[in-house]
């Protein structure tokens, strides 16, 4: 049990776990992107910056206000989600009648502003965020040590993804949302306030990104660039999965995280590019994405 395929077992399981954690972030972020894209028809390029804002907000709450991780987990998505609502209300809604690419350019610009402001204030080096005491330590699973916090991130992300799926697929609110995705004007004709729903959906997607940011704060160092590097990979994940299905983005996110982790074991040099290569292959074989509708 010490070696699997000539690889030391602890290394293999360690990278698998890291892959699952990265996958958890891919899944949560691509989920938010898919929800926003479904209703607003824009790709939210600010998503990475909003993920970073989530991590910073958790750090600020702890160091400036003295509110701990658990409070941040609830407060941060609400606060950052509110900034998203404001952003939609002030800017994004002016673009719905234009080509969708303008939405991409606008959110890219806002992302640059946010990242620049945080870099001015906090510099480029990372800030540490302590793992909450309840989640520190590690479990001995026999074949490996599992740091409690890492297990928590994977489990919590799964719960959030499942909850999002239930809200969208099984509740009345979700039914409105899916109906508006198919045909917004018809839903509006039935007396539902679609513009408000669009605003709140954007806020919810942004909140999801911020929540992922809080989860990430104790794992990665909190720094202004943490989102922009991640978001490009998430774009590739979204292209691979196709934005048609919620469950599809979750499975794709976790799956690609694991693939990336395994690549780190077997061919480390390729680990940074493997997801992009998979994207190219998927595009050649199935242009609509694994779970997408053509």
């Amino acid at each position: 049990m010490d070696e699997i395929f000539g690889i030391p077992a602890p290394l293999l399981f360690g990278q698998l776990l890291l892959g699952l954690i990265n996958g958890a972030f891919y899944a949560m972020l691509s989920l938010g992107l898919a929800v926003i894209f479904g209703l607003l028809n824009i790709i939210n390029f600010t998503h990475g910056a909003q993920f970073m804002m989530g991590a910073f907000a958790a750090w600020m709450l702890l160091n400036w206000v003295g509110l701990n991780y658990w409070v941040a987990l609830i407060l941060v998505p609400i606060i950052i989600g509110a900034t998203g609502v404001l952003m939609e209300w002030l800017m994004i809604r002016r673009l719905y009648k234009l080509d969708h690419l303008y939405g991409l350019l606008l959110t890219f610009g806002i992302g640059l502003i946010v990242e620049g402001l945080f870099r001015n204030e906090f510099g480029s080096s990372g800030l540490p965020y302590q793992i909450p005491p309840q989640l520190s330590g590690a479990w001995d699973l026999g074949f490996m040590f599992l740091p409690v916090y890492r297990g928590w991130v994977v489990a919590f992300a799964l719960v959030i993804c499942l909850a999002t799926w239930i809200v969208i697929e099984k509740t009345r609110l979700g039914a409105y949302l899916r109906a508006a995705t198919e045909n917004a004007s018809l839903v509006q004709a039935f007396g539902i306030n679609v513009p408000r729903m669009v605003t709140l959906t954007y806020g919810a997607g942004v909140g999801l990104a911020a929540l992922a940011g809080v989860l990430a704060a104790p794992i990665y160092s909190v720094n202004p660039q943490m989102g922009s590097n991640l978001i490009i990979v998430v774009f590739a994940v979204v292209v691979i999965g196709g934005m048609g299905s919620i469950l599809g983005s979750v499975i794709t996110g976790f799956g690609l995280g694991v693939v990336e982790g395994l690549t780190k074991v077997f061919w480390p040099e390729a680990s940074a590019t493997v997801i992009f290569v998979i994207m190219a292959i998927v595009l050649l074989a199935r242009p609509a994405g694994l779970f997408g509708r053509a």
Partner: protein, 332 residues
């Protein structure tokens, strides 16, 4: 940019009758072109620093190449840094390690960028709109990681001390002014080539695809082939621009393949005016000048660039030249 409701047909006759001046320029365009020529010839004597001018021309050509896609085919490539940066690396490697003369090094940079563009374009044109932008961005990020690791790029250090060499093995380019004329010539050739492409029958089909792709398909055009050729041409010229830049500065680094560079070229084109002939050059001039003056402000440059993006998209979508042209009721 694509507005799907406007039919392509009504714009065509007007353009055909208007394209009567020299080089297929309309009269206002020809006057602007003369102005540009006068600037190219006069600027180094008017006390402007040649290296700054060369930087401006390299980015101007880069933005024009990018505009060929977004302005005339309606494709937003968010990964043009890959071709720009790779052109720079190849030219640097060819000039420094292989010892090619500068004109061959630049051509090699353009050729490799074209090859890269052929592969990436072939993959990316399978999807449209927003997906196309995301795919090109992701593929460019792949090139970035490749350049971080590949031995010939020098990783974080980049390729340094690239010699400018002797043009055709005869003319020494180390004086800035000699190099300037070469860069100006490269820019002019690229600029006129793009103009020629746009005003060819091929260019008309490109515009038809921009206005209404299903309709172009139904007219019997294999739109994917047209898009791919346009993509290759655009990436080749972006590579030439990057190659020229690396010879000017004697250095090729990761900055030029980074996604931020892809964003910058979008910004230049947007500021100058999407789909205008001279807009990208003006936009490049504005952004490069701004970066030069604000260089010591660090991250504020990013904030200001983001602000310009937001302002352009919300209030100023035609860009500088687009706005001027609309006021004067001409095409520029």
């Amino acid at each position: 940019m694509a507005s799907q409701n406007t039919a392509a047909v009504p714009t065509l006759p007007e353009e055909r009758t208007a394209a009567q001046g020299a080089f297929g320029f309309t009269k206002p365009q020809f006057l602007t072109f003369l102005l540009l020529l006068a600037f190219l010839v006069g600027a180094p004597f008017a006390g402007l620093y040649p290296v700054f001018l060369m930087k401006l021309l390299c980015f101007g050509l880069f933005a024009c190449a990018f505009n060929l896609l977004i302005g005339y085919v309606g494709l937003l490539s968010f990964g043009h840094a890959a071709y720009f940066g790779m052109g720079g690396y190849i030219a640097g490697h060819m000039a420094k390690v292989v010892g090619l003369s500068p004109e061959l090094a630049i051509l090699a940079g353009g050729a490799v960028a074209a090859g890269l563009g052929a592969v990436f374009g072939w993959i990316a044109i399978r999807r449209q709109g927003i997906y196309f932008a995301m795919i090109t961005l992701a593929l460019a990020q792949m090139v970035y990681f490749f350049c971080v690791q590949a031995p010939f790029t020098g990783g974080e250090d980049g390729i340094q001390a690239i010699p400018r060499g002797k043009l055709f093995g005869l003319i020494d380019l180390s004086p800035d002014l000699s190099m300037y004329w070469v860069v100006a010539a490269v820019f002019l050739i690229g600029f006129l080539l793009i103009h020629r492409i746009v005003h060819s029958p091929f260019g008309q089909v490109m515009k038809a695809i921009r206005e209404n792709e299903p309709r172009a398909t139904s007219l019997g055009y294999r739109t994917d082939d047209y898009k791919l050729v346009a993509f290759i041409l655009s990436s080749a010229l972006a590579g030439v621009a990057g190659a020229t830049k690396s010879l000017v500065f004697g250095i090729a680094t990761l900055t030029d393949v980074h996604w931020a560079m892809s964003g910058e070229v979008v910004l230049m084109t947007l500021v100058g005016g999407l789909g205008t002939v001279f807009g990208p050059v003006v936009g490049a001039a504005v952004i490069v000048t701004m970066q030069n003056y604000l260089a010591e402000m660090g991250a504020w440059v990013t904030v200001i660039q983001g602000g310009i993006f937001v302002a352009c998209v919300l209030a100023f979508r035609r860009g500088i030249l687009g706005e001027i042209a609309a006021r004067l009721r001409v095409k520029l």
